[in-house]
């Protein structure tokens, strides 16, 4: 039976090859769930471009980026269109291995169709575009409305400032409810959203690290305060206990991207439907969690066709909406936000018009200039320094100073 199936598939592969010879075949490299949305998108693409055959290759998030690194290193083997996650786009945009979309395809003309911050994320330090935003993760606070009501608080008072947020946490603690799963999320939110004018997240305009600047101290102090008061559950994301917190209502808020909604509803905590709401992030900040970009490696032999596919996936409003409906990838193209779909009440959120909020937030996030060492700095600050302060009780200034020293050592290859 296996044999038969294998034969069948080989035959299918041969026939696919045969028909492809009529046009050009290009390959799309990405990670799940892009395959689910491509299954819907590609037939539409075929209607507009019958001469372009698109195949796709999926690997998990980490594998995909490591493979892409190998491909760029050796100048071969990459797909014609590649997905790059926001966490990696900084490094890849600077690499010189991707096609400069600004000069090659005059991508600058589409600037207004995307939120300013997402557009800036896809650029190198000199403002050339290397990645086109395909989906976004506008940052919101998810909160349990039933708990808020029970505590008798108005959520708008809670999110006024970090202090009021912490006050809410103290009240929750009396009832043995945690404010948030992990205090680290708070630090990350403050770090990435309150960037000073002209600076990047981790570096100033001259490329000097900012790790010991007041913003970092404040971010770390706020997170540490939450930890020291015992307001967070000390649970990291994507673990059993994290899911359990959502289900049981032992955690009252969660800072995250718009995409978490779909997961809460579909499998993490479907039984809590109607109890959750979303709000702006505390302290009047606007930020984003996640987001993906499409890019073309320089080694691609079919750059023009690849660009057609990228345009189709990012500029075509129907396709952006289709991806939203299929895998809840929040549209990067702001023109789609006029669609009535954005005003639909979301049942899981008790009828809240959450998508409108997501769209508003996307427009308000401030663009931050990417810097060359962002990926290294993020790892050193978030994975190491912050955890040492929170879990190991290390002095904040000392931890940040060491992080800055370590970061400086690493900057020469950029």
């Amino acid at each position: 039976m296996i044999r038969k199936r294998f034969l069948g598939l080989t035959l299918a592969a041969f026939t696919a090859l045969g028909s492809a010879q009529a046009g050009t075949e290009i390959r799309f490299d990405g990670f799940p769930d892009f395959d689910s949305s491509l299954k819907k998108i590609l037939p539409e693409f075929k209607k507009v471009h019958p001469d372009i055959e698109v195949k796709y290759l999926m690997n998990n998030w980490g594998d995909h980026h490591n493979k892409l690194t190998t491909n760029l290193a050796t100048g071969s083997g990459a797909g014609d269109v590649v997905v790059v996650d926001v966490a990696k786009i900084g490094a890849f945009a600077q690499s010189g291995g991707l096609v400069d979309l600004s000069t090659t395809f005059n991508a600058g003309q589409y600037k207004d169709q995307f939120p300013a911050y997402a557009w800036a994320q896809g650029q190198d330090t000199s403002g050339h575009q290397f990645g086109m935003p395909v989906d976004l993760g506008p940052g919101v606070m998810y909160y349990r409305n039933d708990i808020a009501e029970q505590m008798g608080v108005n959520i708008n008072d809670v999110i006024k400032s970090w202090d009021s947020y912490i006050e809410y946490g103290k009240k929750l603690k009396e009832k043995n409810i945690y404010l948030i799963a992990s205090a680290a999320d708070v630090a990350e939110a403050i770090l990435t959203t309150t960037v000073e004018e002209g600076n990047g997240i981790f570096f100033d305009a001259d490329g000097k690290p900012l790790l010991t600047s007041p913003r970092f101290i404040r971010a770390f102090e706020t997170a540490k305060k939450i930890r020291d008061l015992g307001l967070d559950a000390r649970v990291s994301a994507w673990t059993n206990e994290w899911y359990e917190g959502f289900k049981s209502g032992s955690v009252a808020t969660q800072l995250s991207g718009a995409w978490l909604l779909g997961h809460l509803k579909n499998w993490i905590a479907p039984q809590t439907a109607g109890k959750w709401r979303v709000s702006n992030l505390p302290d009047g900040i606007y930020g984003s969690w996640g987001g993906s970009f499409l890019a073309i490696p320089k080694q691609s032999a079919h750059k023009k066709e690849a660009w057609e596919l990228i345009k189709f996936m990012t500029l075509n409003q129907d396709i952006q909406k289709l991806a939203f409906r299929t895998i809840a990838a929040f549209p990067a193209n702001v023109n789609t936000y006029d669609d009535p779909m954005f005003d639909e009440p979301i049942e899981f959120l008790g009828g809240q018009k959450a998508r409108r909020l997501f769209a508003e937030i996307a427009a308000k996030v401030k663009p931050v200039k990417p810097a060359k060492g962002d990926h290294i700095a993020r790892s050193i600050v978030m994975d190491n320094a912050l955890m040492e302060v929170l879990d190991n009780g290390r002095d904040i200034r000392e931890a940040l100073e060491e992080a800055e020293r370590l970061l400086k050592r690493r900057l020469r290859t950029l």
Binding site: A73, S95, T413
Partner: protein
């Protein structure tokens, strides 16, 4: 064999070469594969360790930098921490593996064949269990509030029989096995032990197969106890295999990567408390995109392994390699 008359022709010569060239022909596959697939990576990484290279910039972006990568790596406090972790994990899990595997293999060989077959299969299972399953299962076992390990400790502290020995448990709960800087190393070491002990048992069972049965029989007739037979027959004759397995453990444990990587989700643990050298060089090469320093570190690790292996060969090689 006598009926085979030597044939002429190149095929026959290839198959029955003169004695002098036979070893080279036998080793030809290894030599060829090494030259094609092994030597180039070696030279490549030596070359790389003297250059600055960000891989995503492509091959032609390498820049010569002399010994800078080595100097930079040498002065890196995290590398020294990683070295300490690596050696700690290597010794703890390595010692435990062999101390358990050798006697177990001996006992298994002495057992009836059906039971032995089932037990060896069970012990071998961790070695083949896929990483995905392992990480899922161990994550939930180590989970602070709901994990089976902490639940077991609490149950023990509440039991009448063992309560006195576990009275400290309620004070320290919940134990955060994977976040606590002290607990994470034992947690990783246990996973390594769990995974490779069975593999060593299989190795030692293979080794015990080389010991002629009549030796045991003779000893039994002479009235030697089981322990004595183990100590005077099994252990000395197992020497080439102990030597081999220890060599493997030295090399493998110092390159430890996957287990700590899974359990710390690639972060290396709080304050690099479970980051091994291999993890660190992976991070520098593939995440920080600094292949030059990563190569330098890999060569420093190579030298360390080389030194330890050389010492091991010097001390035990004569008997271990069984040179005639």
């Amino acid at each position: 064999m006598t009926h085979e008359t030597p044939k002429q022709g190149w095929l026959a010569r290839l198959f029955n070469p003169p004695r002098g060239s036979a070893p080279y022909l036998f080793l030809m596959p290894y030599i060829v594969l090494f030259l094609v697939f092994g030597l180039f990576p070696l030279l490549f990484s030596i070359y790389l360790s003297f250059h600055i290279w960000n891989p995503i910039k492509g091959l032609d972006s390498m820049e010569y930098t002399g010994f800078e990568n080595y100097v930079l790596a040498w002065g890196d406090p995290v590398l020294w921490k990683a070295l300490y972790n690596t050696v700690w994990l290597a010794i703890t899990s390595g010692l435990a593996q062999h101390l358990v595997a050798i006697p177990t293999a001996c006992v298994l060989v002495a057992l009836g064949s059906r039971l032995r077959h089932w037990l060896t299969s069970a012990y071998f299972l961790p070695y083949v269990t896929s990483t995905v399953a392992v990480s899922l299962v161990f994550f939930s076992m180590y989970s602070p509030n709901t994990g089976i390990i902490n639940k077991l400790l609490i149950a023990l502290s509440e039991s009448d029989l063992f309560g006195w020995a576990f009275s400290w448990v309620p004070d320290v709960m919940p134990l955060r096995w994977l976040e606590d800087t002290f607990l994470v190393k034992p947690a990783v070491a246990f996973l390594v032990f769990w995974k490779y002990t069975g593999f060593n048992i299989v190795l030692y069972t293979t080794g015990l197969m080389t010991i002629p049965r009549d030796l045991y029989e003779a000893a039994r007739v002479d009235g030697a106890s089981a322990f004595r037979r183990f100590w005077h027959i099994s252990l000395p004759l197992l020497r080439p295999f102990i030597f081999f397995a220890v060599t493997l453990t030295i090399i493998g444990n110092l390159q430890l990567f996957e287990e700590p990587f899974i359990l710390t989700r690639g972060t290396g643990g709080v304050g690099h408390s479970a980051e091994t050298i291999s993890m660190y060089l992976f991070r520098i090469g593939w995440e920080y995109l600094d292949m030059g320093v990563a190569s330098a570190i890999s060569w420093m690790l190579f030298i360390l392994i080389g030194i330890l292996t050389a010492i091991h060969f010097k001390l035990f090689g004569r008997q271990g390699l069984g040179e005639h």
